[in-house]
Subunit: 324 residues, 2 copies
Amino acid sequence: METVGRIAGVSQVTVSRALNDPKKVSAATLKRIQDAIELTGYVPNMVAGALASRRSQLIAALVPSITNVIYSDLMQNFIDVIRGSGYHVLMAETGFSQDEEQAVLSTMLSRRPDGILLTGIHHSPGCKRMLLGAGIPVVEVWDMTENPLDVCIGFSHIKAGEEVAKYAVSCGYEHALIISAGDERALRRKNSFAAQFDQLTGNAPTEVLYETGATIERGRNGLTTGIELGFKNGIVMCSSDLLAHGVLIEAQSRGLRVPEDIAAIGFGNQNFAPFTLPALSTVEVNRTHLGKQAAEALVARINNQPLSKNSIDIGFEIIARAST
Amino acid sequence: METVGRIAGVSQVTVSRALNDPKKVSAATLKRIQDAIELTGYVPNMVAGALASRRSQLIAALVPSITNVIYSDLMQNFIDVIRGSGYHVLMAETGFSQDEEQAVLSTMLSRRPDGILLTGIHHSPGCKRMLLGAGIPVVEVWDMTENPLDVCIGFSHIKAGEEVAKYAVSCGYEHALIISAGDERALRRKNSFAAQFDQLTGNAPTEVLYETGATIERGRNGLTTGIELGFKNGIVMCSSDLLAHGVLIEAQSRGLRVPEDIAAIGFGNQNFAPFTLPALSTVEVNRTHLGKQAAEALVARINNQPLSKNSIDIGFEIIARAST
DNA sequence: TTGTATGCGTTATCAT
DNA sequence: ATGATAACGCATACAA
């Protein structure tokens, strides 16, 4: 800035102004400064800027997995909006582990982010303490609580499980097989589905659980295991569309008719869901909307603008297609 | 640090040493400093550290799409290794556009990253100029050139297309349908496949192109369009496993036998490929290896360690499964 | 509209 | 082994 200023015949401060608040600089000097910037190839140093202004223009975003479309889709929309407000995103993976989340958060806070996006509402005590100490806005997404750390935007996994159970029963299914990934939120959906389905039909669902993530492979294996465990017909409730897709494939491989012999319902409404054979019934959560709204809420909080509510339930929708 | 030092009975400088180079501090004072840090809840400020040391411990990573598993998988492994070396990753999406890449790079350079990961080898002149000006290590991945900006790790898309064509012909297919996404690398594979297939069989492939990304939906529609264009039997060469999966589904929907009536081969060897019906033939690129190696190369370059070669071809492998 | 002085929280250099 | 001092490149308060 010093150099640019010298060439433009102004002080370093005026260059700073020209960059951050051009209205405060006369048109003539602004032009000279821009020419000087062009000439020198000056690149602003946000590190120094952040130190001086105490605003890093950085958002830390912690997601369980970046390869899972559910979350990367959410992040894509989040980043899109947040970039528009001049922020960069420091993204990290927590692998569904609170310890990992705490470890990652700890190093991220050294970057002095202006705001934080967390996935889920369950965090370690150490996490909460650090967040409190940092004193910056926090948005928790993809779950719902009345007592967020700061702001929460998402939906109730318990309700989702229940509604799927009610839907399944309304379709006339009297038996159910659950194939679920092992993360805490998937298990909460599973449990509320099982409880509700049992209550309505008197039949407790058969369960096949996988410790780690959902894949088509596990959907196929899950159906196989379920059948070995005695599941004959009814609905297969999957914690993810990928598992459900695997179920459809395995059913076809076994010559089972869908939905006559077995039905399947997934979760997530991934973009392939309408195009499987048969088309996959699922639960839709508007990830585009969620990502954008989370970004807007975070920016609002950073700017001390008031939010109407600290907990925003964006809900979900059961999409009935041919697989049920 | 000032506060921590006062409590520990040392100067601010000694606290800095205790954190960055503990060996230089006596065991006794180190202990007192650690206690003081614990007591105060001190969190280091990497913004200030970066300004003073001129090392941001930040890596900028530009990928075409974060929702595409091909790239997010690559990034996952990259980040994993790079984190182990004490770096944070600033990731951004470029959407397969050189203009977008330049715009993103321009704002990223303000963060003074210590290194940069780029996807692909084709960049705008402005991009190259900025990179040159920044004077930091650059690793280009997912493609191959003898003249990288700095370091290049990947494979040849032209070779990949050619090898797929040779493989297809070796299987006995005499006609081909190409379904491809519109990004530059996919088109390069498509073109070399088409040229090679034509040369070997005398039959130019039918082509269906989509401007944007690959989805199962487009795979289904692509086969439909291809059939309308006159494709009857032979092999369907897809620029992505997702497209190929869509082809399998559409074939099944039409009662076409795979691979007897039509065969299909994808690209990427995504984790579902072995579990489709029939299992999908595809081209595998070891993304885990690529991500890790890119991270290691970048760290080595940052530390001025020599690399044996500036262009590393990790190759690819045609995985023959039941769909061909 | 522009400039001067000061400080942001570290690391690096040099001295002790 | 430890400390004093000077950058690092910018933004802010205040003055002109």
